[in-house]
């Protein structure tokens, strides 16, 4: 086990910034926890703490409901940098 732990220790980014609540409309805050295909990144990769992972999960799911974040991205539904596409 000890040998396999090659990546460095990660800290919760939201804890560092002392985020109290993550708003689903705040895409910049959500963005960090999304993969390239707009999946929710697991805690083991982002290093988020449980508290903030729960918050961000809820925010992402809400953002998906109101079409701010896509549910899926595949070859049929390719979206090029949708965060910048405001208009």
């Amino acid at each position: 086990m000890a040998e396999r732990r090659k990546f460095k220790k990660r800290y919760c980014r939201y804890c560092e910034q002392k985020v109290e609540f993550i708003d689903y409309k705040d895409l910049d805050a959500i963005r960090f926890s999304l993969s390239e295909r707009y999946k929710i990144m697991p805690r083991r990769l982002t290093g988020n703490c449980k508290k903030h992972q729960d918050m961000v999960t809820e925010a992402i799911k809400r953002a998906r409901q109101v079409a701010l974040v896509p549910y899926i991205v595949d070859r049929k539904r390719v979206i090029e940098n949708p965060f910048e596409l405001i208009k």
């Binding site: 109290e20 708003d23 409309k25 409901q65 109101v66 079409a67 701010l68 549910y71 949708p82």
Partner: protein, 130 residues
């Protein structure tokens, strides 16, 4: 007993500006009718949707922050559901202490934002004229 709520809804992009404003006003009237106290309004404007909704690629986003009794929500959502110009809506309740603090913060932010947009708006008009 009034709770803190936030409702976001998306208006069809095919409408003219007047029609969009009329739809937003209509929702406001419903809010007033159901005894809701409108705290702040946040206009996010025309945005690209992350996925097509009723074959629309874009939509006009508006957010209302308000305090209302729980029974008001059913009536409001019923009205939004029957409004053909509204393609999507979502209501979020702010209940615990931390969320309520955030609610106040967002109201303050939303109240600041219209000033910024009003400054931008004349500039856009000028560019449109030019």
């Amino acid at each position: 007993m009034k709770n803190a709520y936030e409702t976001l809804f998306i208006v069809k992009p095919t409408l003219t500006e007047e029609e969009i404003n009329a739809t937003v006003e209509k929702v406001k009237e419903v809010l007033a009718k159901v005894d809701a106290e409108l705290r702040a309004e946040l206009t996010m404007g025309m945005r690209r949707l992350a996925y097509p909704v009723q074959k629309h690629e874009r939509g006009y986003y508006t957010v209302f922050y308000y305090n209302a009794p729980g029974s008001a929500i059913a009536e409001l959502e019923r009205n939004l559901k029957y409004d053909e110009n509204v393609i999507k809506f979502m209501t979020v309740k702010y209940s615990n202490k931390r969320e309520l603090a955030q609610f106040e913060k967002q109201i303050a932010a939303a109240k600041k934002a219209p000033e910024a947009t009003s400054e931008e708006a004349p500039a856009n008009e000028e560019s449109a004229e030019a």
